[in-house]
């Protein structure tokens, strides 16, 4: 299978501080991959590097196209949707306006009604909040909005940064159930960054373990789930 996303020797810099020290991995189309690791390991930075929000060296290819020289808004146009850390909600705008903006980077601008129907199918609660300012939604609803907005792009790759952060376990399970459905029904590949390792391993079919800017372990998530030593050492459960 050809790689959907291929990252080679990726280094990332915040000012003079190096946050990634030569990360290499690849993702096949249609899968769910998760990046696990402690705080400050470079998980968010990896996603930000793909979306061109941080200075990097090394190679990033998406469907064979180089991303390094592109601007964030052009990466989005290739079909990579990023639901960022902190959700990135347009709090002043309504739910509907947030979703419309999600479709901005898409080539075919029409057929919005169809997309609304699709995301409201996944997240019925957003339909009832349609005309409400997004800032007034609960944390869980804002996280759903963040995922829904990303789906409006009709992406081929979805980058998710800690969708479980600060949410009640029930809400998190609901969101993860929907992510699985999105991956299965629409064939959207997902690159997931999570602190909640148990949940992420459950959803993902492949896993990378990141430690202070390096990949220290890489394999099918099933192997990791079974390996008690690694689980205890790196994931703490």
């Amino acid at each position: 299978m050809s790689a959907l996303l291929e990252v080679r020797d990726l280094e990332a810099f915040y000012g003079r501080t190096k946050a990634l020290h030569g990360v290499s991995f690849s993702m096949t189309a249609g899968g769910i991959t998760t990046i696990l690791g402690a705080n400050g390991a470079g998980k968010t930075t990896t996603l930000r590097a793909i979306s061109r929000m941080v200075r990097t060296s090394g190679a990033i290819r998406f469907e064979g196209q180089a991303l390094e020289s592109r601007a964030t808004e052009d990466v989005v146009r290739l079909g990579i949707a990023h639901a960022p850390e902190g959700r990135g909600t347009f709090v002043h705008l309504t739910v509907e306006e947030n979703l419309k903006l999600g479709a901005w980077g898409r080539r075919q601008r029409g057929e919005l009604a169809q997309d609304f129907e699709r995301v409201f199918g996944y997240f019925p609660v957003l339909a009832s909040r349609r005309r409400q300012a997004a800032g007034t939604l609960s944390g869980g609803e804002q996280q759903m909005l963040s995922v829904a907005r990303a789906l409006m792009l009709r992406p081929r790759l979805l980058l998710l940064d800690e969708p479980s952060l600060g949410l009640a376990p029930m809400v998190v399970r609901e969101i993860f159930r929907i992510l699985r459905a999105v991956n299965r029904d629409a064939g959207v590949s997902i690159l997931l960054v999570e602190q909640n390792a148990a949940l992420a391993l459950d959803l993902a079919d492949h896993v990378f373990l990141l430690e202070t800017g390096r990949i220290v372990m890489d394999g099918p998530s099933e192997d990791l789930r079974k390996d008690d030593a690694i689980r205890r050492a790196y994931l703490g459960y």
Partner: protein
């Protein structure tokens, strides 16, 4: 009572002009976080462009529309060529750049068109309009109408078009805007273009009252600052309302407070800025922005 109504209407007319320029200031502020000092001079320059077209025999409304189009493009070019290279510089740097533009526009206008005052025509009949005992200037009523039409257009643009939505998004949250594929840089440039259009409207509507000269907008700019401060620099609607309030208050105070008269009218605007900043720094409709430094 008749005098009161008359003064209120003429206050609304000048207030509309302040509102247009205040809206230009607010648009730039929201997009770039910077108070721009060159909007008034850009408006003056636009008015000269209109004057040049009128002198060349173009009919008024074509010259009006032509000026809006040229101002729009000019605003975009200024943002792309002059503001963009310094947009990540410290705020004071950008402020100084806009102050530099102020001086440049003023001097270049004087160089091209001289400092001799020029009459500027009003598109509206010079015959005043009478309702009972109250006399309204036709230009005042016309200016109010033009301002309201422009404000309505811009409201519809921002509320109901995808591009307007993208511009609002880019102003509020540039990072998330990039992540949905909005070209934020161009949205900022569009903002400068639209601000130049508002300024041009203000200039062309105020010039018949003041006659055209390179210092045409100096006073108006101060009033516009008062209006934007009063309404809150973060609220377009507040800036518009602030403009009308400043216009009416300025007129009423000049009429009824005998020691102020026409000489001290100008001071009223400055006094309003100080009072607002003392009592309610975020303005009537502004939101308080807390920044970590």
């Amino acid at each position: 009572m008749d005098i009161f109504i008359q003064q209120v209407v003429s206050g609304l007319a000048t207030g509309g002009i302040y509102a247009s320029l205040a809206l230009a200031l607010v648009m730039i502020y929201q997009a770039t976080d910077v108070v721009s000092f060159c909007q008034g001079e850009m408006a003056m320059f636009s008015t000269y462009i209109c004057w040049t077209m009128l002198n060349a025999g173009v009919s008024y409304w074509w010259a009006f529309l032509g000026t809006l189009a040229i101002s729009f493009v000019g605003g975009i070019v200024i943002q792309r060529v002059i503001i963009r290279p310094v947009q990540h510089a410290p705020i004071l740097t950008i402020v100084i750049v806009t102050l530099g533009l102020l001086v440049i526009f003023n001097s270049v206008a004087g160089w091209i068109w001289t400092y001799v005052q020029k009459p500027f025509p009003s598109p509206f009949p010079s015959k005043p309009f009478k309702a009972g005992n109250v006399v309204f200037g036709a230009h005042d009523l016309g200016a109010i109408t033009v301002t309201l039409v422009v404000l309505l257009c811009i409201y519809v643009f921002f509320q109901f078009t995808p591009l307007g939505l993208a511009m609002r998004a880019a102003a509020h949250n540039p990072v998330s805007s990039r992540l949905v594929g909005i070209r934020v840089g161009w949205m900022l440039a569009l903002g400068w273009g639209l601000a130049a259009v508002f300024g041009a409207v203000a200039g062309m509507m105020v010039a018949p009252n003041l006659t055209l000269e390179p210092n045409l907008m100096g006073g108006v700019q101060i009033y516009a600052f008062a209006a934007a401060t009063l309404g809150g620099f973060t609220s377009p609607g507040g800036a518009v309302l602030g403009g009308f309030i400043v216009g009416v208050v300025e007129n009423l105070v000049g009429t009824y407070v005998s020691f102020i008269g026409t000489e001290l009218k100008f001071t009223v605007a400055l006094a309003m800025i100080i009072v607002v900043l003392l009592v309610r720094p975020s303005g009537l409709f502004g939101t308080t922005i807390v920044k970590r430094v």
